[in-house]
Protein backbone atom coordinates (compact mmCIF):
# COMPACT_ATOMS: atom_id res chain seq x y z
CA UNK A 1 0.00 0.00 0.00
CA UNK A 2 1.53 3.33 -1.05
CA UNK A 3 -1.12 5.66 0.31
CA UNK A 4 -3.46 4.71 3.11
CA UNK A 5 -6.12 7.22 4.16
CA UNK A 6 -8.30 6.09 7.04
CA UNK A 7 -11.15 7.97 8.69
CA UNK A 8 -9.83 11.37 7.67
CA UNK A 9 -11.80 14.47 8.60
CA UNK A 10 -10.85 17.82 7.16
CA UNK A 11 -12.60 21.19 7.25
CA UNK A 12 -11.64 24.38 5.45
CA UNK A 13 -12.79 27.66 6.97
CA UNK A 14 -15.42 25.89 9.05
CA UNK A 15 -16.84 24.05 6.00
CA UNK A 16 -16.33 20.29 6.21
CA UNK A 17 -14.60 18.90 3.09
CA UNK A 18 -14.03 15.32 4.20
CA UNK A 19 -15.84 13.38 6.89
CA UNK A 20 -14.57 9.89 7.50
CA UNK A 21 -12.73 9.44 4.19
CA UNK A 22 -11.11 6.09 3.37
CA UNK A 23 -8.88 5.75 0.31
CA UNK A 24 -6.21 3.13 -0.39
CA UNK A 25 -3.74 3.34 -3.26
CA UNK A 26 -1.97 0.11 -4.14
CA UNK A 27 1.57 -0.07 -5.47
CA UNK A 28 2.05 -0.18 -9.22
CA UNK A 29 -1.56 0.63 -10.09
CA UNK A 30 -3.39 3.59 -11.56
CA UNK A 31 -5.94 4.83 -9.07
CA UNK A 32 -8.56 7.31 -10.22
CA UNK A 33 -10.08 9.77 -7.77
CA UNK A 34 -13.32 11.08 -9.29
CA UNK A 35 -16.07 13.33 -8.06
CA UNK A 36 -18.05 16.45 -8.89
CA UNK A 37 -16.32 19.84 -8.73
CA UNK A 38 -15.77 21.12 -5.22
CA UNK A 39 -15.72 17.72 -3.51
CA UNK A 40 -12.11 18.19 -2.45
CA UNK A 41 -10.27 15.99 -4.95
CA UNK A 42 -7.34 18.41 -5.12
CA UNK A 43 -7.50 18.83 -1.34
CA UNK A 44 -6.97 15.06 -1.06
CA UNK A 45 -3.70 15.45 -3.00
CA UNK A 46 -2.70 18.28 -0.64
CA UNK A 47 -3.33 15.96 2.31
CA UNK A 48 -1.31 13.14 0.73
CA UNK A 49 1.63 15.45 -0.03
CA UNK A 50 1.49 16.82 3.55
CA UNK A 51 0.79 20.38 2.44
CA UNK A 52 -2.12 20.50 4.90
CA UNK A 53 -2.65 18.29 7.96
CA UNK A 54 -5.95 16.44 8.46
CA UNK A 55 -8.11 17.50 11.41
CA UNK A 56 -8.64 13.90 12.41
CA UNK A 57 -7.85 10.42 11.14
CA UNK A 58 -4.84 8.50 9.96
CA UNK A 59 -2.84 9.26 6.80
CA UNK A 60 0.04 7.00 5.84
CA UNK A 61 2.30 7.42 2.82
CA UNK A 62 4.93 4.73 2.12
CA UNK A 63 3.89 3.29 5.48
CA UNK A 64 4.81 6.45 7.42
CA UNK A 65 2.28 8.37 9.46
CA UNK A 66 2.41 11.95 8.13
CA UNK A 67 1.19 13.61 11.33
CA UNK A 68 4.34 12.75 13.29
CA UNK A 69 6.85 13.74 10.61
CA UNK A 70 8.96 16.89 10.81
CA UNK A 71 9.68 19.20 7.89
CA UNK A 72 12.89 17.37 7.00
CA UNK A 73 11.21 13.96 6.93
CA UNK A 74 8.32 15.34 4.88
CA UNK A 75 10.81 16.67 2.32
CA UNK A 76 12.48 13.26 2.30
CA UNK A 77 9.11 11.66 1.56
CA UNK A 78 8.30 14.18 -1.16
CA UNK A 79 11.49 13.29 -3.00
CA UNK A 80 9.86 9.93 -3.64
CA UNK A 81 6.76 11.62 -5.11
CA UNK A 82 6.03 13.56 -8.26
CA UNK A 83 3.08 15.75 -9.03
CA UNK A 84 1.64 17.12 -12.23
CA UNK A 85 -0.25 20.37 -11.73
CA UNK A 86 -3.27 21.41 -13.74
CA UNK A 87 -1.44 24.40 -15.28
CA UNK A 88 1.98 22.73 -15.30
CA UNK A 89 3.37 25.13 -12.65
CA UNK A 90 6.60 25.55 -14.60
CA UNK A 91 9.08 28.09 -13.26
CA UNK A 92 8.57 31.03 -15.61
CA UNK A 93 12.09 32.44 -15.48
CA UNK A 94 13.75 29.24 -16.76
CA UNK A 95 13.57 27.50 -20.13
CA UNK A 96 12.18 24.01 -20.59
CA UNK A 97 15.56 22.31 -20.12
CA UNK A 98 16.31 24.16 -16.86
CA UNK A 99 12.80 23.47 -15.57
CA UNK A 100 13.30 19.73 -15.98
CA UNK A 101 16.85 19.95 -14.60
CA UNK A 102 15.73 21.98 -11.58
CA UNK A 103 15.01 19.11 -9.12
CA UNK A 104 18.21 17.31 -10.20
CA UNK A 105 20.36 20.40 -9.62
CA UNK A 106 18.70 21.02 -6.26
CA UNK A 107 19.04 17.50 -4.91
CA UNK A 108 22.15 16.05 -6.49
CA UNK A 109 25.72 17.00 -7.37
CA UNK A 110 25.69 15.21 -10.71
CA UNK A 111 28.10 16.47 -13.37
CA UNK A 112 26.64 18.71 -16.07
CA UNK A 113 27.04 16.09 -18.83
CA UNK A 114 25.01 13.57 -16.86
CA UNK A 115 22.29 16.12 -16.03
CA UNK A 116 22.08 16.95 -19.73
CA UNK A 117 21.65 13.31 -20.70
CA UNK A 118 19.09 12.71 -17.95
CA UNK A 119 17.00 15.74 -18.91
CA UNK A 120 17.12 14.95 -22.62
CA UNK A 121 16.01 11.36 -21.90
CA UNK A 122 13.00 12.58 -19.94
CA UNK A 123 12.14 15.21 -22.55
CA UNK A 124 12.39 12.53 -25.24
CA UNK A 125 9.95 10.39 -23.23
CA UNK A 126 7.33 13.17 -23.42
CA UNK A 127 8.22 13.99 -27.02
CA UNK A 128 9.59 17.49 -26.35
CA UNK A 129 13.35 17.09 -26.71
CA UNK A 130 13.19 19.62 -29.55
CA UNK A 131 11.53 22.20 -27.29
CA UNK A 132 14.31 22.20 -24.70
CA UNK A 133 15.30 25.82 -25.40
CA UNK A 134 11.78 27.27 -25.32
CA UNK A 135 10.51 29.38 -22.44
CA UNK A 136 7.30 28.30 -20.62
CA UNK A 137 5.42 31.28 -22.09
CA UNK A 138 6.07 29.90 -25.59
CA UNK A 139 4.43 26.53 -24.87
CA UNK A 140 0.83 25.49 -25.48
CA UNK A 141 -1.22 24.14 -22.55
CA UNK A 142 -0.66 20.52 -23.58
CA UNK A 143 3.09 21.04 -24.09
CA UNK A 144 3.46 22.78 -20.71
CA UNK A 145 1.77 19.82 -19.07
CA UNK A 146 4.13 17.39 -20.80
CA UNK A 147 7.18 19.40 -19.71
CA UNK A 148 5.79 19.36 -16.18
CA UNK A 149 5.42 15.60 -16.53
CA UNK A 150 9.06 15.28 -17.58
CA UNK A 151 10.04 17.37 -14.55
CA UNK A 152 7.85 15.22 -12.28
CA UNK A 153 9.57 11.99 -13.41
CA UNK A 154 13.13 13.29 -13.62
CA UNK A 155 13.94 12.14 -10.07
CA UNK A 156 12.33 8.73 -10.76
CA UNK A 157 9.52 8.98 -8.18
CA UNK A 158 7.70 5.95 -6.85
CA UNK A 159 4.32 7.61 -6.96
CA UNK A 160 3.06 10.20 -9.41
CA UNK A 161 0.00 12.37 -8.77
CA UNK A 162 -1.93 14.01 -11.58
CA UNK A 163 -4.20 16.95 -10.71
CA UNK A 164 -6.89 17.28 -13.39
CA UNK A 165 -4.54 16.30 -16.22
CA UNK A 166 -7.21 16.42 -18.97
CA UNK A 167 -8.72 19.86 -18.36
CA UNK A 168 -8.67 22.23 -21.33
CA UNK A 169 -6.81 19.94 -23.74
CA UNK A 170 -7.61 19.33 -27.40
CA UNK A 171 -8.37 15.68 -28.33
CA UNK A 172 -4.83 15.07 -29.63
CA UNK A 173 -3.08 16.45 -26.51
CA UNK A 174 -5.58 14.61 -24.33
CA UNK A 175 -4.81 11.32 -26.07
CA UNK A 176 -1.07 11.98 -25.69
CA UNK A 177 -1.39 12.65 -21.95
CA UNK A 178 -3.57 9.56 -21.50
CA UNK A 179 -1.01 7.38 -23.26
CA UNK A 180 1.82 8.93 -21.25
CA UNK A 181 0.10 8.21 -17.93
CA UNK A 182 -0.41 4.59 -18.98
CA UNK A 183 3.16 4.38 -20.30
CA UNK A 184 4.72 5.81 -17.12
CA UNK A 185 2.78 3.28 -15.11
CA UNK A 186 3.62 0.26 -17.26
CA UNK A 187 7.20 1.01 -18.33
CA UNK A 188 8.51 2.64 -15.15
CA UNK A 189 6.25 0.90 -12.67
CA UNK A 190 5.18 4.22 -11.16
CA UNK A 191 2.12 4.14 -8.93
CA UNK A 192 -0.28 6.76 -10.26
CA UNK A 193 -3.05 8.74 -8.61
CA UNK A 194 -5.19 10.58 -11.15
CA UNK A 195 -7.61 13.19 -9.88
CA UNK A 196 -10.20 14.10 -12.47
CA UNK A 197 -13.87 14.24 -13.33
CA UNK A 198 -13.46 13.02 -16.89
CA UNK A 199 -15.14 9.66 -16.46
CA UNK A 200 -14.69 8.36 -20.01
CA UNK A 201 -10.96 9.09 -20.17
CA UNK A 202 -10.26 7.63 -16.74
CA UNK A 203 -12.21 4.46 -17.48
CA UNK A 204 -9.72 3.55 -20.21
CA UNK A 205 -6.63 3.65 -17.99
CA UNK A 206 -7.62 3.29 -14.32
CA UNK A 207 -7.16 0.02 -12.41
CA UNK A 208 -9.01 1.23 -9.33
CA UNK A 209 -11.34 4.16 -8.93
CA UNK A 210 -12.92 6.06 -6.11
CA UNK A 211 -15.94 8.29 -6.44
CA UNK A 212 -15.94 10.95 -3.75
CA UNK A 213 -19.16 12.76 -2.95
CA UNK A 214 -20.34 14.61 0.13
CA UNK A 215 -16.98 14.31 1.90
CA UNK A 216 -16.74 10.53 1.77
CA UNK A 217 -16.24 7.71 -0.72
CA UNK A 218 -19.57 7.15 -2.47
CA UNK A 219 -18.32 4.18 -4.45
CA UNK A 220 -15.11 2.35 -5.23
CA UNK A 221 -13.95 -0.46 -7.48
CA UNK A 222 -12.91 -0.85 -11.10
CA UNK A 223 -14.39 1.65 -13.59
CA UNK A 224 -16.62 -1.16 -14.93
CA UNK A 225 -17.97 -1.85 -11.43
CA UNK A 226 -18.71 1.83 -10.97
CA UNK A 227 -20.58 1.98 -14.25
CA UNK A 228 -22.66 -1.06 -13.28
CA UNK A 229 -23.52 0.45 -9.87
CA UNK A 230 -27.21 0.97 -9.14
CA UNK A 231 -26.59 3.67 -6.54
CA UNK A 232 -28.39 6.86 -7.71
CA UNK A 233 -25.43 9.10 -6.78
CA UNK A 234 -22.95 6.97 -8.76
CA UNK A 235 -25.31 6.64 -11.74
CA UNK A 236 -25.89 10.39 -11.85
CA UNK A 237 -22.15 11.11 -11.89
CA UNK A 238 -21.27 8.42 -14.41
CA UNK A 239 -24.04 9.41 -16.83
CA UNK A 240 -23.85 13.17 -16.23
CA UNK A 241 -27.56 13.74 -15.45
CA UNK A 242 -28.60 17.14 -14.14
CA UNK A 243 -31.22 15.62 -11.86
CA UNK A 244 -30.35 13.21 -9.06
CA UNK A 245 -28.98 13.20 -5.54
CA UNK A 246 -26.62 16.06 -6.49
CA UNK A 247 -29.15 18.82 -7.21
CA UNK A 248 -28.83 21.16 -10.20
CA UNK A 249 -30.01 24.08 -8.06
CA UNK A 250 -27.98 25.51 -5.24
CA UNK A 251 -30.25 25.78 -2.17
CA UNK A 252 -32.43 28.88 -2.61
CA UNK A 253 -35.80 30.32 -1.44
CA UNK A 254 -38.89 29.59 -3.50
CA UNK A 255 -38.50 30.86 -7.07
CA UNK A 256 -41.97 32.44 -7.48
CA UNK A 257 -41.87 34.02 -4.03
CA UNK A 258 -38.48 35.57 -4.69
CA UNK A 259 -39.50 36.92 -8.11
CA UNK A 260 -42.73 38.48 -6.84
CA UNK A 261 -41.23 39.90 -3.67
CA UNK A 262 -40.68 43.67 -3.61
CA UNK A 263 -37.13 44.81 -3.16
CA UNK A 264 -36.36 46.12 0.27
Amino acid sequence: MVVDVRGVHYALGGRPIFSDLDVQVRRGRITAIMGPSGTGKTTLLKLITAQVPPDQGELRVFGQELAILGRREVYGLRRRMGMLFQNGALLTDMDVFENVAFPVREHTDLPETLIRKLVLTKLQAVGLRGAAALMPAELSGGMARRVALARAIVMDPEVLMYDEPFVGLDPISLGVILRLIKHMNEALGITSIVVSHDVQELATIADDSYLISGGRVAASGTPAQLRASDSPAVRQFMTGCAEGPVPFHYPAPDYATQLLATED
Partner: protein, 217 residues
Protein backbone atom coordinates in the same frame (compact mmCIF):
# COMPACT_ATOMS: atom_id res chain seq x y z
CA UNK B 1 -19.11 44.28 19.52
CA UNK B 2 -19.56 41.42 21.96
CA UNK B 3 -16.81 40.18 24.25
CA UNK B 4 -16.54 37.01 22.20
CA UNK B 5 -15.98 38.98 18.98
CA UNK B 6 -13.37 41.16 20.64
CA UNK B 7 -11.55 38.13 22.05
CA UNK B 8 -11.64 36.52 18.63
CA UNK B 9 -10.11 39.63 17.04
CA UNK B 10 -7.35 39.77 19.65
CA UNK B 11 -6.56 36.08 19.21
CA UNK B 12 -6.54 36.51 15.43
CA UNK B 13 -4.21 39.52 15.75
CA UNK B 14 -1.79 37.60 17.97
CA UNK B 15 -1.97 34.61 15.63
CA UNK B 16 -1.03 36.80 12.64
CA UNK B 17 1.76 38.47 14.56
CA UNK B 18 3.05 35.04 15.54
CA UNK B 19 2.99 33.79 11.95
CA UNK B 20 4.92 36.89 10.80
CA UNK B 21 7.56 36.32 13.49
CA UNK B 22 7.84 32.63 12.54
CA UNK B 23 8.15 33.65 8.87
CA UNK B 24 10.98 36.06 9.76
CA UNK B 25 12.75 33.43 11.86
CA UNK B 26 12.54 30.87 9.04
CA UNK B 27 13.75 33.49 6.56
CA UNK B 28 16.77 34.37 8.70
CA UNK B 29 17.53 30.68 9.22
CA UNK B 30 17.62 30.17 5.45
CA UNK B 31 19.95 33.13 4.79
CA UNK B 32 23.14 31.14 5.47
CA UNK B 33 22.23 28.30 3.04
CA UNK B 34 21.20 30.93 0.47
CA UNK B 35 24.72 32.37 0.57
CA UNK B 36 25.84 29.08 -0.97
CA UNK B 37 24.11 30.05 -4.22
CA UNK B 38 25.99 33.18 -5.23
CA UNK B 39 24.48 33.28 -8.74
CA UNK B 40 20.96 33.58 -7.26
CA UNK B 41 22.19 36.32 -4.96
CA UNK B 42 23.88 38.27 -7.75
CA UNK B 43 20.70 38.03 -9.80
CA UNK B 44 18.65 39.42 -6.93
CA UNK B 45 21.11 42.25 -6.21
CA UNK B 46 20.72 43.16 -9.87
CA UNK B 47 16.93 42.81 -9.67
CA UNK B 48 16.47 44.83 -6.51
CA UNK B 49 19.46 47.17 -6.80
CA UNK B 50 20.45 47.85 -10.40
CA UNK B 51 16.85 48.07 -11.56
CA UNK B 52 16.11 50.70 -8.89
CA UNK B 53 19.09 52.84 -9.91
CA UNK B 54 17.28 55.21 -12.27
CA UNK B 55 14.53 56.18 -9.84
CA UNK B 56 17.05 56.46 -6.97
CA UNK B 57 19.43 58.66 -8.97
CA UNK B 58 16.66 60.84 -10.38
CA UNK B 59 15.12 61.38 -6.96
CA UNK B 60 18.55 61.99 -5.41
CA UNK B 61 19.37 64.61 -8.02
CA UNK B 62 16.16 66.53 -7.46
CA UNK B 63 16.27 66.29 -3.66
CA UNK B 64 19.84 67.63 -3.79
CA UNK B 65 18.85 70.41 -6.15
CA UNK B 66 15.96 71.45 -3.91
CA UNK B 67 18.28 71.42 -0.90
CA UNK B 68 20.77 73.55 -2.82
CA UNK B 69 18.20 76.04 -3.99
CA UNK B 70 16.29 76.46 -0.74
CA UNK B 71 19.46 76.33 1.34
CA UNK B 72 21.12 78.98 -0.80
CA UNK B 73 18.06 81.21 -0.70
CA UNK B 74 17.81 81.03 3.09
CA UNK B 75 21.50 81.18 3.94
CA UNK B 76 22.06 84.04 1.52
CA UNK B 77 19.76 86.26 3.61
CA UNK B 78 21.94 85.73 6.66
CA UNK B 79 25.20 85.96 4.76
CA UNK B 80 26.07 82.39 5.59
CA UNK B 81 26.10 80.90 2.12
CA UNK B 82 29.37 79.23 3.11
CA UNK B 83 27.38 76.79 5.24
CA UNK B 84 25.45 75.51 2.22
CA UNK B 85 27.84 72.61 1.62
CA UNK B 86 27.65 71.41 5.22
CA UNK B 87 23.89 71.76 5.36
CA UNK B 88 23.34 69.85 2.13
CA UNK B 89 25.87 67.15 2.98
CA UNK B 90 24.66 66.59 6.53
CA UNK B 91 21.01 66.64 5.53
CA UNK B 92 21.58 64.16 2.75
CA UNK B 93 24.02 61.79 4.41
CA UNK B 94 22.40 61.62 7.81
CA UNK B 95 18.69 61.81 7.11
CA UNK B 96 17.39 62.28 3.61
CA UNK B 97 19.34 59.65 1.71
CA UNK B 98 18.57 56.66 3.99
CA UNK B 99 14.90 57.58 4.43
CA UNK B 100 14.22 58.50 0.81
CA UNK B 101 16.11 55.46 -0.48
CA UNK B 102 14.17 53.21 1.90
CA UNK B 103 10.84 54.64 0.70
CA UNK B 104 11.78 54.46 -2.96
CA UNK B 105 13.23 50.98 -2.53
CA UNK B 106 10.03 49.79 -0.87
CA UNK B 107 8.02 51.36 -3.67
CA UNK B 108 10.08 50.13 -6.59
CA UNK B 109 11.80 46.88 -5.57
CA UNK B 110 9.29 45.92 -2.84
CA UNK B 111 6.26 46.00 -5.12
CA UNK B 112 8.17 44.21 -7.91
CA UNK B 113 9.14 41.42 -5.48
CA UNK B 114 5.63 41.18 -4.07
CA UNK B 115 4.01 40.90 -7.49
CA UNK B 116 6.64 38.38 -8.64
CA UNK B 117 6.14 36.13 -5.61
CA UNK B 118 2.35 36.64 -5.77
CA UNK B 119 2.36 35.45 -9.38
CA UNK B 120 4.47 32.44 -8.42
CA UNK B 121 1.96 31.61 -5.70
CA UNK B 122 -1.02 32.04 -8.06
CA UNK B 123 0.50 29.80 -10.74
CA UNK B 124 1.39 27.07 -8.20
CA UNK B 125 5.13 27.52 -8.75
CA UNK B 126 5.77 27.73 -4.99
CA UNK B 127 3.62 24.65 -4.35
CA UNK B 128 5.48 22.82 -7.12
CA UNK B 129 8.77 23.65 -5.38
CA UNK B 130 7.35 22.35 -2.10
CA UNK B 131 6.36 19.09 -3.79
CA UNK B 132 9.83 18.83 -5.35
CA UNK B 133 11.19 19.06 -1.78
CA UNK B 134 12.77 22.46 -2.47
CA UNK B 135 12.02 24.96 0.29
CA UNK B 136 10.71 28.15 -1.39
CA UNK B 137 11.92 30.04 1.65
CA UNK B 138 15.48 29.06 0.75
CA UNK B 139 15.18 29.30 -3.02
CA UNK B 140 12.82 32.28 -3.44
CA UNK B 141 12.57 34.35 -0.26
CA UNK B 142 16.09 34.27 1.25
CA UNK B 143 18.03 35.34 -1.90
CA UNK B 144 15.60 38.24 -2.44
CA UNK B 145 15.91 39.30 1.18
CA UNK B 146 19.72 39.15 1.07
CA UNK B 147 19.73 40.93 -2.31
CA UNK B 148 17.82 43.79 -0.69
CA UNK B 149 20.13 43.83 2.32
CA UNK B 150 23.14 44.19 0.01
CA UNK B 151 21.54 46.64 -2.42
CA UNK B 152 20.07 49.09 0.12
CA UNK B 153 23.34 50.59 1.52
CA UNK B 154 24.77 50.85 -1.99
CA UNK B 155 21.69 52.65 -3.23
CA UNK B 156 21.80 54.97 -0.20
CA UNK B 157 25.41 55.85 -1.02
CA UNK B 158 24.52 56.52 -4.66
CA UNK B 159 21.56 58.66 -3.56
CA UNK B 160 23.91 60.74 -1.36
CA UNK B 161 26.49 61.23 -4.11
CA UNK B 162 23.95 62.21 -6.74
CA UNK B 163 22.14 64.41 -4.22
CA UNK B 164 25.39 66.23 -3.40
CA UNK B 165 25.98 66.70 -7.09
CA UNK B 166 22.47 68.18 -7.38
CA UNK B 167 23.16 70.60 -4.52
CA UNK B 168 26.48 71.55 -6.10
CA UNK B 169 24.78 72.04 -9.45
CA UNK B 170 22.42 74.65 -7.98
CA UNK B 171 24.67 76.14 -5.28
CA UNK B 172 27.83 76.45 -7.39
CA UNK B 173 27.04 76.24 -11.10
CA UNK B 174 23.78 78.19 -11.01
CA UNK B 175 24.11 80.53 -8.02
CA UNK B 176 27.85 81.06 -8.35
CA UNK B 177 28.94 79.73 -4.97
CA UNK B 178 32.63 78.73 -4.96
CA UNK B 179 33.00 75.01 -5.66
CA UNK B 180 36.17 74.78 -3.61
CA UNK B 181 34.38 76.16 -0.60
CA UNK B 182 31.34 73.92 -0.94
CA UNK B 183 33.55 70.88 -0.68
CA UNK B 184 35.56 72.41 2.15
CA UNK B 185 32.36 73.40 4.02
CA UNK B 186 31.05 69.89 3.87
CA UNK B 187 34.19 68.69 5.54
CA UNK B 188 35.03 66.54 2.55
CA UNK B 189 37.93 68.42 0.93
CA UNK B 190 41.65 68.33 1.63
CA UNK B 191 41.50 71.78 3.20
CA UNK B 192 38.90 70.59 5.65
CA UNK B 193 41.01 67.61 6.57
CA UNK B 194 43.98 69.91 7.12
CA UNK B 195 41.85 72.04 9.42
CA UNK B 196 40.74 69.02 11.33
CA UNK B 197 44.29 67.95 11.89
CA UNK B 198 44.95 71.40 13.33
CA UNK B 199 41.94 71.01 15.59
CA UNK B 200 39.84 73.57 13.72
CA UNK B 201 36.26 73.18 12.61
CA UNK B 202 36.18 72.98 8.81
CA UNK B 203 34.34 75.82 7.14
CA UNK B 204 34.69 78.19 10.11
CA UNK B 205 37.51 80.08 8.46
CA UNK B 206 35.29 80.84 5.51
CA UNK B 207 32.54 82.18 7.70
CA UNK B 208 34.92 84.50 9.52
CA UNK B 209 36.70 85.59 6.37
CA UNK B 210 34.14 86.20 3.64
CA UNK B 211 35.24 85.44 0.12
CA UNK B 212 37.90 87.95 -0.87
CA UNK B 213 37.09 87.89 -4.52
CA UNK B 214 33.52 88.79 -3.71
CA UNK B 215 34.79 91.96 -2.02
CA UNK B 216 37.00 92.77 -4.96
CA UNK B 217 40.25 92.22 -3.06
Amino acid sequence: MSNGDRDGLIVEGIRRLGSVVIFLARLLAQCAPALGRPWLLVHQVYNAGARSLIIIMLSGLFVGMVLGLQGYDLLHRFGSVEALGSAAALGLLKELAPVMTALLFAGRAGTALTSEIGLMRATDQLTAMEIMAVDPMRYVAAPRFLGGVIAMPLLTAIFSVVGLYGAQLIGVQLMGRQGRLLVADAGLGRAAQRHRRRGQEPGVRHRLQPDRRARGL
